[in-house]
């Protein structure tokens, strides 16, 4: 991630300190590249049938044949899980049938995309040569003016550059500007002839412009900027223009000389999709360029704030004041920021850390475009199961939403590291991101062309459910990041690499959720499988009413949730939520620090989790006793259903225990709830699994709960079943945690207010009771081991479920 420095030291020294605040443009650049890559793939798939018309005919025939064979299954109404499975199988068979012709299309697409990026690389490489040649740039030599060359070298060192760039004079330019450009390992700074006059007459202004351009080099802007431009132009030339041409003249490759106006709504849809895509890429490109400019200004400004002479900053401010003010739209959407914004960056470099809503909105839009298009590409090219391609798409594209969100929250937290970010500062970020995503989803090339998104076809309730669920995930991630950012080490000694680690952990934690969300949202919509005829278990005949109620709620199934539960990535994801923050703040000497220095109350979280497990054990024992005493033997001895019902009921109890633990931590923890709650519920869930499989099940067999006189009370549980139970408990527990934690937080607010009313002016400084480092480290290591072993043991079952 690109970041900017903090202070400019004395002239002649490399004095920039690393600063933890990222510019965020690396993420945007990655989004731009990904959007171009994926969208151009779809565009070339579209062009494949148009450039050679016989291909389109063959594809049409193949589709009619392959899908025609499965028509009876497709037309059959879906009422049960078995119907859903049959429909999935039919789709898989049809896709396999189409594989040869799709492979042909894939080869063409890959070749075209490769050509597009090759041209982009050529443009990037040729840019500097073109600049030098067209502008008549010539090197500034020591023999012409040794003092000037010395000054430029001094400024380069002061800017923190290991190697001075090649300074070039623009002899035909009578303006007073500068420009950084170049390519890999070859950096140039162009200085206008008019500027060089200022070397003698206005040294401050000369230094300001040179330092600004050197700041671009120090910020590593040149590659990002010129690659962005190159990719843009290559995309315009090789994807956009050809598509626009064939949209306006669809018969170009059959009757090139006879143009007829395009008919139907398709050209309009294609035109709209092209327009939206072009705008998105263009605005993202300009956003990157604007941010780079203000960060270069901020670097010069920081020199003054870092104790260095403020002359360059004052002079740069004068230069910015002299810039022609662009109109409102140009300033908001063009390649250069508004002078006012630049002045703010110079005067108050910390202002650069303010959240940039447009960035999150653009990230959301770009990711949605990528998801829709990439899913189409996966479906066409890889021929995997629909659920796999959809979830895989989501798991890849999660980077596009998670990393910008984590980065934005991190930046916002960096403005005032001593204070917690208020809720009103955090909430808008996920909201804007999700809004961008939902809009982008409607405007992606594939959505417009094929019109298949659930948002369009599924109705308002589907859209609302999808939006709320996505927002819930994004809000959770944002609050978690804010909590971690608040305790992260300060920049410098230990701050390096923290943001990438936190971003990686946040992304990994969000990954299973987003993957399953995309998959369920894309297929039939998140509410489609909420049909009671599918999810409600059958009633047990002859059982008492309370038992029926327990099994009803405990055995309820929601298909999309199965993919989240039976997923080897989910447990590691949940583990990272507490593990990474704890490591980040304790990584001195590579082990946990003493609790007296620990900003997290790890000990308290572990104890709360342990208490939750004890409560679960007691409640489980009561449940077994009630089952034994109140459920008729005829029901209990039905080994096909009763053991499953008991396990489901115990899992549900464990989930309730975790929810209670979450609420307790949320009520009593004053800080870092997003980190402590996952740790506490993980402890409860893991212990509850052990208690169930080793304790309660053994006890149940001993008291003849399931059958008469079992061969042995104790049986070692199978690894697969253990992993299933562990996943069910922890994943459902994590979901139940969210409302429980919110309730707990509300309760804390109420309690705090009541206490203040009773004892005004008194705080609640609960003592932080230390525990030994060895105990904490051992406990956390055990939990990590549980997560790893659980994920490994779950993998075979997950594979079966995912591949059908």
């Amino acid at each position: 991630m690109t970041s900017t420095p903090q202070a400019l030291g004395p002239p002649g020294t490399a004095a920039y300190e690393p600063r933890p605040a990222p510019a965020g443009t690396t993420v945007l650049f990655a989004l731009l590249v990904s959007t171009v890559l994926i969208t151009s793939s779809v565009v070339y798939m579209f062009l494949w049938g148009i450039v050679v018309p016989s291909r389109a005919t063959r594809l049409g025939t193949a589709m009619r044949t392959c899908w025609g064979r499965e028509q009876s299954i497709i037309n059959h109404p879906v009422k049960t899980l078995a119907d859903l499975a049959r429909l999935g199988d039919a789709a898989d068979r049809a896709e396999r049938c189409l594989r040869p012709i799709y492979a042909e299309q894939a080869s063409w697409t890959v070749a075209c995309v490769a050509a597009l990026f090759a041209v982009a690389v050529v443009i990037y490489w040729a840019y500097p040569l073109w600049f030098v040649r067209r502008r008549g740039l010539t090197p500034i030599l020591r023999e012409d003016c040794p003092e000037l060359v010395d000054e430029l070298e001094r400024l380069s060192r002061a800017a923190g550059l290991d190697r001075a760039p090649t300074f070039l004079l623009a002899p035909y330019a009578s303006t007073s500007g500068g420009l950084a450009f170049g390519r890999w390992r070859r950096r140039y700074v162009q200085l206008d002839a008019g500027l060089l006059v200022g070397y003698t007459t206005d040294r401050g202004r000369f230094q300001a412009v040179v330092l600004h351009e050197l700041a671009h080099l120090r910020n590593r802007d040149v590659d990002t900027t010129y690659l962005t431009m190159s990719i843009w132009w290559s995309f315009v030339a090789l994807a956009l223009v050809p598509t626009a041409v064939v949209t306006l003249h669809p018969q170009l490759f059959t009757t090139p000389l006879r143009w007829r106006p395009p008919k139907g709504a398709l050209p309009l849809s294609v035109g709209l999709a092209l327009l939206v895509l072009t705008l998105l890429l263009y605005l993202t490109r300009n956003a990157i360029l604007r941010v780079r400019e203000t960060y270069a200004d901020a670097r010069v400004g920081e020199a003054a704030h870092g104790g260095e002479s403020d002359r360059p900053a004052v002079a740069l401010r004068a230069v910015v004041d002299g810039l022609a003010p662009p109109d409102r739209w140009r300033a908001a959407l063009g390649t250069h920021p508004h002078p006012g914004r630049r002045r703010q960056a110079i005067d108050d470099p910390a202002a650069m850390l303010s959240p940039r809503s447009w960035e999150l909105f653009a990230a959301g839009m770009a990711t949605a475009v990528m998801v829709a298009n990439l899913r189409y590409v996966f479906d066409q090219l890889l021929q995997t199961r629909v659920i796999v391609s959809s979830a895989g798409t989501g798991m890849i594209c999660v980077l596009g939403v998670a990393v910008p969100l984590v980065t934005a929250v991190w930046r916002a937290a960096g403005r005032a590291p001593a204070h917690r970010l208020p809720v009103r500062a955090i909430l808008p970020m996920p909201v804007v991101l999700v809004a961008g995503y939902l809009l982008g989803e409607q405007l992606s090339w594939v959505s417009v062309l094929v019109g298949w998104t659930a948002m369009v076809t599924g109705g308002v309730e589907q859209s609302l459910a999808a939006a709320i669920l996505l927002l819930a995930g994004a809000v959770t991630l944002a609050f978690w990041t804010a909590s971690v950012a608040h305790t992260a080490p300060s920049p410098g000694r230990r701050g390096r690499g923290v943001l990438p680690a936190v971003a990686a952990a946040g992304t990994a934690a969000f990954l299973p959720w987003f993957g399953v969300w995309v998959s369920a949202h894309d297929r039939q919509g998140l509410l489609a499988t909420l049909d009671p005829t599918i999810i409600v278990p059958p009633l047990r005949a002859g059982a008492p009413g309370w038992y029926a109620a327990v099994t009803y709620w405990a055995e309820m199934d929601y298909p999309p949730f199965l993919y989240l539960t039976h997923n080897p990535l989910t447990l590691p994801a949940l583990t990272l939520l507490w593990l990474v923050p704890v490591i980040v703040v304790n990584r001195r000497r590579g082990s946990l620090r003493g609790p007296e220095e620990d900003p997290y109350r790890v000990r308290d979280a572990l104890i709360t989790g342990l208490v939750g497990a004890v409560v679960f054990a007691l409640a489980g024992a009561v449940l077994l006793y009630a089952l034994k005493e109140m459920v008729p033997a005829s029901v209990r001895h039905d080994l096909n259903s009763f053991p499953y019902s008991v396990q489901s009921a115990l899992a549900a109890l464990a989930v309730i225990a975790q929810a209670l633990v979450a609420a307790t931590v949320a009520t009593f923890a004053r800080r870092h709830r997003p980190v402590l709650i996952p740790l506490a519920i993980f402890t409860t869930g893991s212990l509850a699994t052990g208690i169930t499989l080793l304790g309660l099940n053994t006890a149940g067999r001993c008291v003849d709960l399931y059958e008469n006189r079992p061969p042995a009370c104790f049986r070692l549980p199978e690894a697969g079943l253990t992993a299933d139970f562990l996943h069910t408990v922890l994943v459902e527990g994590a979901v139940a945690t969210v409302p429980a934690a919110l309730l707990g937080a509300l309760l804390q607010v109420l309690v705090t207010r009541l206490r203040r009313l009773g004892h005004p002016g008194t705080a609640d400084p609960r003592p932080h009771r230390p525990a030994t480092r060895v105990i904490l480290t051992t406990a956390l290591a055990l939990l990590v081991t549980v997560a790893i072993l659980g994920a490994l043991a779950e993998a075979p079952h997950a594979y079966e479920i995912w591949t059908g």
Binding site: L169, A170, Y226, A296
Partner: protein
């Protein structure tokens, strides 16, 4: 320009003006003069530094002296070779260079170049006209012209009689 020797003469003559009137431009005189000889019109027209995504700088144009001094020197050289002196009597530009004090002593077989007062006045006018034509004020034009003529007179005074 017709020959390399002429370019050197023009550049040397222009450097006298730049050194006197705008010494701030001396560090870039060599590359600027090369750019001028490559494309005089573009050099005199001035212009912005071209676009560029990472560019900063004010859009206002600075009136540079070097291209104008080179244009004036070129005009003066043309006048001297075309009208004021007989080229057959001088070898290359050496005699003219000495006229402005920018060359060594003349060889035995070489004729010294001398201009009449009217011719000097014409040289003065040429420099003034060029400077004003390309946007400089009358005061700057005057100083430039005085510098050229003054250089010649200083050279004449310095020559052994």
């Amino acid at each position: 320009m017709d020959t390399d020797i002429d370019r050197t003469l023009v550049a040397d003559l222009a450097r006298i003006m730049v050194a006197e009137v705008r010494p701030a431009e001396l560090p870039m005189f060599r590359p600027m003069s090369e750019a001028y000889f490559a494309d005089p019109e573009r050099s005199l027209a001035g212009g912005d530094g071209g676009g560029g995504p990472l560019r900063i700088g004010e859009t206002g144009l600075v009136l540079l002296l070097t291209p104008v001094a080179l244009a004036a020197a070129e005009e003066v050289t043309k006048y001297l070779f075309g009208e004021a002196i007989r080229p057959a009597l001088v070898r290359g530009g050496a005699a003219v260079r000495r006229l402005f004090g920018i060359g060594g002593r003349p060889g035995k077989s070489e004729t010294a170049v001398r201009l009449t007062d009217e011719q000097w006045a014409h040289v003065h006018r040429i420099v003034e006209d060029v400077a004003v034509r390309f946007g400089h004020g009358q005061d700057v034009a005057q100083v430039m012209a005085d510098t050229v003529v003054g250089a010649a007179h200083r050279a004449t005074w310095a020559e052994p009689r």
